[in-house]
Amino acid sequence: MATKIFKHIQTSVVPLPIENIDTDQIIPARFLKATTRDGFGNNLFRDWRFDGDDNPKQDFVLNNPNYSGKILVAGKNFGCGSSREHAAWAIADYGFDAVVSSFFADIFKGNALNNGLLPVQVSEDFLKKIFDAVYADEHAVVEIDLVDQFIKIVATGEQESFEVNPYKKACLINGYDDIDYILSQKGKIEEFESVR
């Protein structure tokens, strides 16, 4: 089955300069009861975004009309904790196409890549530059190019290259799907089973 394609984006960003953002913050467990992949964006960062009476907390960035865009920029060790893919679904469903951080937890990174949500790992220095740029001008635009593997702060021209697994890169650019690939190797799986 074809999956979401990602090649290039250029957009303003939403800054969330907190470290160790775990998947329980991204989507608390009590909102994991749906049996489809849709609608998780409504509960993205639920307990940071809304108070106990479901009123938006004014000091949280997603409730600040000055910030918007397709890129979420966050502190190091983003997505640690639970393996819930719902975290990636929630971020994508809310409308983000990429997450930028100086470090990602393993399982989250894999889940994001499997959903057309690009995790872009940058240096601590470059992460600070992005935060500085967006705090200087909330409309600061960042460009991410997956084909040539770079991220650029458009106003200053500062850029950095980032790494991505070549196989996953091909999947994202072409909309390929892991299951289709493994199924194409089914003969090898059956052979493996028969000789072990």
């Binding site: 009590r30 060790n77 640690c80 393996s83 819930r84 799986i189």
Partner: protein, 471 residues
């Protein structure tokens, strides 16, 4: 050059390895539960695919289940729907389900080992990050996302790049009152909640070797809390004795063949690790966390670190964590009043945990200000506890024994810690709101949790043990 234990197991499961692609890794057993599987089954339906190897797939309901009155329908509608959906999917796709009411039901990471499904040398995955638990048997076991659950259901394989290898050695003699939970909380506090990211971690050293299987499972369970892909411990006599005779363990000739293979599963003396860390058992105190990730832990007699001791860019996140916890710089947790004690979760809900707590609380009673929940990891653990009379000891101590499930570990079912309340918890995560919106978690060992329940404040278990020795 010799091989690591991890590489021996990995190589034995590689179906295909191509330049520029992740390996196709064969999965021996795929555990599934109600929360992370429904979308995967839907995916199979959309593709018109069956479950490729239903006999190598094992299902249970654990995250959403209530831990009292399990014979009644689940009250919460969405939880009930999700559990019903698992039943329906398992029936449609021919997967064995140990659901509510089944004598094998329980937390997925408790039932796999106790049924003899988890064995040395195997590969195990589940849509749950604490799948790392199963590595205690000398196996490769890790958590996966739902797209990968679908992948394994469809092919019994997983596309996976080989992680780096880390060895963590712990040598020496543990102090009295210090156990497996303290060891792993100590390691994570030393290397941080991200210190293991990108690695498969092998735990070694004589302290690790001296642990029971239950203790080893506690250690491997929390590998993910330092970001590790998985944790594993080479199998030995302790492992083999644990597996022997269990429901699905190999029998007769098959058993002998299996043991002969398991005995080859260790890291060769000259095997190269990408990273090696060593710790001394003597340095480890009973541990407790004070913050909002499992790396924020201290010895129970130590003080909460000062904000100024962190780099400037980290101070904001640190302060946010302390504010959430209602703590301040340099505070000591010892003597801090608590509201709840939770003994359970895939980290500490096995029979050995319950026996240890029962032995300690026998003849004592919980403090009035504390509510205690003891939640067995499985139906079998519950039955065993009752057979041994532990339930009576617990009842007399004001520690009611509930029914099996994930319970207050994750704030998904009915068992939630109320906002602002402090819970000493034997579970694995102290994230904001993990045990319920605005709940505050102190992670600790079963003994520390039990001692704190008795006194009503955060307690150093060693003070009790000294007194008891004097009597």
């Amino acid at each position: 050059m010799g091989q690591t234990l991890f590489d021996k197991i990995w190589d034995a499961h590689v179906v295909s390895s191509s330049e520029g692609f992740p390996d196709i890794l064969y999965i021996d057993t795929h555990f599934i539960h109600e929360v992370t599987s429904p979308q995967a089954f839907d995916g199979l339906r959309q593709r018109g695919l069956p479950v490729f190897r239903p006999k190598q797939t094992v299902a249970t309901a654990d995250h959403n289940v209530p831990t009292i009155d399990q014979h009644l329908p689940i009250k919460e509608e969405l939880s009930r729907y999700q559990v019903d959906m698992l039943t329906k999917n398992c029936k449609e796709f021919g997967v064995e389900l140990y659901g509510l009411g089944h004598p094998y039901q329980g937390i997925v990471h408790v039932i796999g080992p106790e049924l003899g499904i988890t064995r040395p040398g195997g590969t195990y995955v589940c849509g749950d990050s604490h799948t790392s638990t199963h590595g205690a048997f000398g196996a490769i076991a890790f958590g996966i996302g739902t797209s990968q659950v679908e992948q394994v259901l469809a092919t019994q394989c997983l596309l996976q790049s080989r992680p780096k290898r880390m060895k963590i050695e712990v040598n020496g003699k543990l102090q009295k009152g210090v156990g497996a939970k303290d060891i792993i909380l100590y390691i994570i506090a030393q290397i941080s909640a991200a210190g293991g990211t990108g690695y498969a971690v092998e735990y070694a050293g004589d302290t690790i070797r001296s642990l029971s299987m239950e203790g080893r499972m506690t250690i491997c369970n929390m590998s993910i809390e330092m970001g590790a892909r998985c944790g594993l411990i080479a199998p030995d006599e302790t492992t083999i004795n644990y597996v022997k005779g269990r429901e699905f363990a190999p029998k007769g000739e098959e058993w002998d063949k299996a043991v002969a293979y398991w005995e080859t599963l260790y890291s060769d003396a000259d095997a190269a690790f990408d990273e090696v860390l060593s710790f001394k058992a003597e340095d480890i105190e009973p541990m407790i966390t004070y913050g909002t990730n499992p790396g924020m832990g201290i010895g129970v007699t130590q003080h909460v670190p000062e904000t100024a001791s962190f780099e400037a860019k980290e101070q904001g996140s640190y302060k946010k964590a302390l504010d959430y916890m209602g703590l301040h710089d340099d505070e000591t947790l010892l003597g801090k009043p608590i509201d709840y004690v939770f003994i359970g979760s895939c980290t500490n809900s096995r029979i050995e945990d319950l026996r240890q707590v029962a032995e300690f609380v026998k003849g004592k009673h919980k403090a009035d200000n504390v509510t205690v929940w003891v939640v067995p990891g499985s139906k079998q653990v519950q039955q065993q506890a009752i057979a041994e009379g532990l339930d009576k000891i617990f009842n007399e101590a004001g520690f009611p024994l509930r029914e099996p499930g994930c319970s207050a570990c994750l704030g998904m079912n009915e068992d939630k810690i109320p906002a602002g309340k402090y819970c000493v918890s034997t579970s694995n995560r102290n994230f904001e709101g993990r045990q319920g919106p605005n709940s505050r978690t102190f992670l600790a060992s079963p003994l520390t949790a039990a001692a704190s329940a008795i006194t009503g404040v955060v307690t150093d278990i060693r003070t009790f043990l000294k007194e008891e020795e004097l009597v």
